[in-house]
Amino acid sequence: MGSLIPTPTDLEICDILNKRFSTKRDPADPQGRSYIEHLRALFAVNNFLDNKHHLHRVAHLLAVSVTGGPSVPAVKKHRLRWFHLLHKLLPRETDQAIRDVLTTVLKNPNGNIAYAVFLARPAPIGLDFEIYPQNSGQPYVTWDPQGNSYCQVFLDCKVDRDLPDPAPGEEHDPPDKDPVEILIPGPKKKAKKKKSAKKTTKSSAKKSSLKKKKSSAKKKKAVGKKAPAKKAKKAKKGRSRR
């Protein structure tokens, strides 16, 4: 899908899912597999798309497994709306269709899905939200210019208004853990450099001033020691010139 005006929040959601279901190398996989191959291996061990798992929680886990920390969308207000859509606003049939399509993408029984891409679009459909085509649960598979077949996951939206904000406390950020939680490893966070604490208590101030005095005294001493040697060198040079 190409659009005239980029909608950053939509693009954040789509791009993070696209990356998680892409053939790019997953930095969090010790075996060096792609994002989707790593996800397929994790899914084979733990079906995180069964009805024991909430979609909004799964979306959060998938996002943080790519970012290594922050969830998506980055703006909290939008994030809560996104979680609310997946948690409360999707019709039951659509929730199930998402699980079915993604399960097929991850099981890949016909071996014809190299990767998946996600997008949302307005469409004249029956329910408020549907997964194309008509919540059938069948993945829509097409081909890219390189001849790879891939799945396009369209979230069709009939509702022509902004996504509503959840009531206060209705959605949690991050969403509550599911009873059987899946662990999707993400990239390790870069360790932040610890800044030295700058406390200005009287005692520490005294200590620091003492240290400064000592160090400056040492410097003076050192300078004093070096100075005669330098003078001697200069003197030597002068003699040799003569």
Binding site: M1, G2, P6, L11, I16, V66, L119, P122, T142
Partner: protein
């Protein structure tokens, strides 16, 4: 398009009263004549301020939603450019869109619209695009909607893509700058 901006009913009414629907009909007719392999749709029921190119079951679709088609600040030149840009996603060569490898990227679509697309449209339908007028009209709605968000500034600054902000984009359009061709230079938010 879950988080897109929408046009108010009052603004849509303003454009309808000014004969916008007739203009849209003529535009679609000219585009259909020029690019018969593509399908052009004006979806006035949607208040989303946007347009979209989509390939579905090997059909190449261009959709312009009501929020953009009926925007009172836009006129013939900007609407022509919008349709050319979306057509460019299907017909331009070069860099592909990260989100859909079947389509050309934003920069390639813009450049195609301003050059090849505009020429084809004029030759086959007689409709002439005044690019400076289109950019001026679009600036009213794009300058506030396509700003360089601080949150993504670092990610976007490493990209050669000039479709990341309207400032770069409008300059590139007017100067007809060639789009970047290196793989992976397109804007992404992940």
């Amino acid at each position: 398009m879950l988080f897109s901006d929408r046009l108010s009913e009052q603004e849509a009414l303003e454009a309808k009263e000014a004969g916008r629907e007739r203009l849209l009909e003529m535009l679609v007719s000219d585009f259909q004549k020029t690019f018969p392999d593509l399908m052009f749709q004006v979806l006035l029921d949607s208040s989303i301020i946007n347009a979209m190119a989509l390939r579905l079951h090997d059909k190449r679709n261009v959709m312009i939603y009501g929020g953009l088609a009926l925007h009172p600040r836009l006129a013939a030149n900007s609407l022509t450019f919008i349709l050319l840009h979306e057509t460019g996603h299907h017909l331009a060569e070069g860099c592909r869109l990260v989100r859909d490898p079947a389509l050309a990227c934003e920069c390639a679509a813009d450049h195609w619209a301003a050059t090849t697309g505009a020429n084809l449209l004029q030759q086959r339908s007689g409709r002439c695009l005044r690019l400076d007028a289109a950019v001026l009209e679009l600036s009213v709605i794009m300058s506030t909607r396509q700003k360089l968000n601080k949150r993504y500034a670092r990610k976007l600054s490493t990209s050669a893509c000039w479709a990341k902000t309207w400032t770069f984009r409008s300059t590139a359009l007017l100067e007809q700058t060639r789009p970047p061709t290196n793989v992976g230079c397109c804007v992404t938010y992940a």
